[in-house]
């Protein structure tokens, strides 16, 4: 059954007609030609299709396009330039993944990066994780165990985890330093 919908993707509105069965992942890849979100399993089990939906990380493969009209969708491709990058326009996480060699085939990478963007926001908002020693702690300290748990929805078939965790930790800790600096400046 066809319906006409509007999707806002990486800052641009697109008007398109889709079958109601179309997921956000298929709409992005097959209809809008944005192949940065990947299809790994199509069942919610791998995280390759991760995008940002209204600033939160979400799976494109289980979200129906008709149910998310009007949402602000950001893909890994849209993080370029949008992330306050220097010169090359890459998002700090994208640059950190390159610097840390945090991939082999790269298939899981756009999902890993979108997931990490959402994860860092969740941690900054004080959301606990399943490995939190104290669920009531006011602040989250992103050590390697926390990062691994929070990123467990993103599988990497090449098992680049040993470099993915440091790539994310690097940006997380830079953000923490920046936050402390801002705090200091306000005092």
């Amino acid at each position: 059954m066809d319906v006409e919908i509007t999707l806002r993707v990486d800052g641009t509105d697109h008007r398109l007609t889709v079958d109601t069965r179309t997921t956000l992942l298929d709409a992005l890849r097959e209809r809008l030609g944005n192949t940065s979100p990947k299809k790994g399993c199509d069942h919610g089990q791998c995280g390759a299709c991760t995008i940002l939906l209204d600033d939160r990380r979400a799976l494109g493969c289980l979200a129906l396009a008709v149910a998310h009209q009007g949402a602000d969708i950001v893909t890994a491709a849209g993080l370029v330039n949008g992330g306050g990058g220097e010169g090359d326009g890459l998002h700090p996480l994208q640059r950190s993944f390159i610097a840390h060699d945090a991939f082999q085939c790269g298939y899981c990478t756009p999902g890993q990066i979108c997931s990490a963007v959402g994860m860092l926001r969740e941690a900054a908002a004080g959301w606990p994780s399943a490995v939190a020693k104290d669920p009531n702690a006011a602040d989250v300290v992103l050590d390697d165990e926390e990062i691994a748990e929070r990123m467990s929805g993103n599988l990497c078939r090449c098992a680049a985890y040993a470099n993915i965790v440091p790539a994310i930790a690097d940006v997380a800790h830079r953000d923490e330093v920046a936050a402390h600096r801002d705090e200091g400046a306000r005092r």
Binding site: M1, V3, D19, T20, R21, T23, D42, H43, G44, G47, T50, L53, R56, R57, A58, L59, L62, A63, L64, V66, A67, S115, G118, M119, E122, A125, G126, W127, P128, S129, A130, A132, P135, N136, A148, E149, R150, M151, S152, G153, N154
Partner: protein
């Protein structure tokens, strides 16, 4: 996937009526379970009625100190809520131990409660399964049993309920608020069902997961005012460290008097039954007993005396017993 119409309803009453009138309609919330099952051809609705904007996405405090969690509250917001974390940490931990960050952002409170079993035969339309196709037989009886039930199962179905959140809610004496197709007693015709009575045991009709009748819509879940639930914990055992369903899980809250006897306790088990399993017998055995390793082990044994493990999941007996003991010991430690 079978073609379907996508619709919104303006009011709860309209949604309930729409479902009553369309035999092949289903409610859609986050879609993380339903869309998956539709892709597998296990669910074949012809109409989807999106209910995310129909129910509340807020957690409200009621005058008596209860918390009312709207059915559309995302799993991630529930787990992050400061009141939940302080008063009912077991609930926050249970939600966080389930699925992944990306899934918890989409998944809702109502959808989580009504997610279907992860039994591999249920999800595979080429294998017999009484839950999917009543009367076709249960493939798990002679098949893969690692994930199956040890408590309350029947020869028709040995599946387990997969929700972690529901196990914590069972331990917390939560109430499910439902807008009924007919016959609600509360204000606005609201039906109130204790969470421990929402899900069914399979008996000879495993196709019915819950006591809800067709068209009934979950609007909220209420938590009673906190008592000793601030000392509560969720412990989940699974085949990998994260992003996997429970083999066995335990939600518990413990209140120990100064003299070292158990004043009160709440225990519920996950991964062991067709429903979140409130361990009433273990609780009864513990009230008034000394809070010791021996009493904890005896309490677990009292509960598991009624268990009937299958050849492929007998390991769950020791696993359940040890996880109950470990969780209660953790709580002793936390209270110190």
């Amino acid at each position: 996937m079978k073609p379907f119409r996508y619709e919104h309803a303006d009011t709860v009453a309209a949604a309930v009526t729409a479902l009553a009138e369309e035999p092949e309609a289903a409610y859609l919330a986050g879609g993380t379970n339903l869309v998956d099952l539709m892709r597998l051809d296990v669910a074949t609705p012809e109409v989807l009625i999106d209910v995310r904007r129909l129910t509340s996405d807020r957690i409200e405090e009621l005058p008596d100190g209860s918390l009312r969690i709207g059915a559309a509250v995302p799993n991630s917001d529930l787990a992050a809520d400061r009141r939940i974390r302080r008063r009912y940490p077991v609930l926050s931990q249970a939600v966080l131990s389930g699925a992944s960050g990306q899934l918890r952002n989409l998944a809702t409170t109502g959808g989580n409660l009504l997610q279907r079993t992860r039994c591999a035969y249920f999800q595979n339309v080429t294998t017999p399964c009484n839950k999917r196709e009543p009367g076709s037989g249960c493939s798990a009886l002679e098949g893969y049993q690692r994930d199956m039930a040890i408590l309350g199962a029947s020869p028709s179905c040995v599946a387990t309920h997969p929700s972690d959140m529901a196990v914590a809610l069972a331990a917390l004496d939560a109430t499910v608020c439902v807008q009924g197709a007919e016959g609600g007693q509360g204000p606005d015709g609201e039906l109130r069902i204790p969470l421990t009575e929402l899900h069914r045991l399979p008996g000879d009709s495993p196709e019915r997961d819950t006591v809800l009748r067709r068209g009934e819509l979950i609007t909220a879940v209420e938590l009673p005012p906190p008592d000793f639930t601030a000392t509560s914990r969720y412990r989940k055992v699974r085949d990998r460290a994260s992003y996997a369903f429970a083999l066995v899980s335990v939600a518990a809250a413990l209140d120990v008097a100064d003299g070292g006897t158990v004043r009160d306790v709440r225990i519920a088990l996950g991964g062991v039954a067709h429903k979140p399993w409130r361990a009433w017998k273990a609780e009864e055995s513990l009230r008034g007993a000394p809070a010791t390793w021996d009493s904890f082990r005896d309490a677990a044994a009292a509960e598991l005396a009624q268990a009937e493990p299958l050849p492929g999941n007998a390991f769950k007996m020791a696993l359940a017993r040890n996880t109950v003991v470990a969780t209660l010991l953790d709580l002793m430690e936390a209270a110190r």
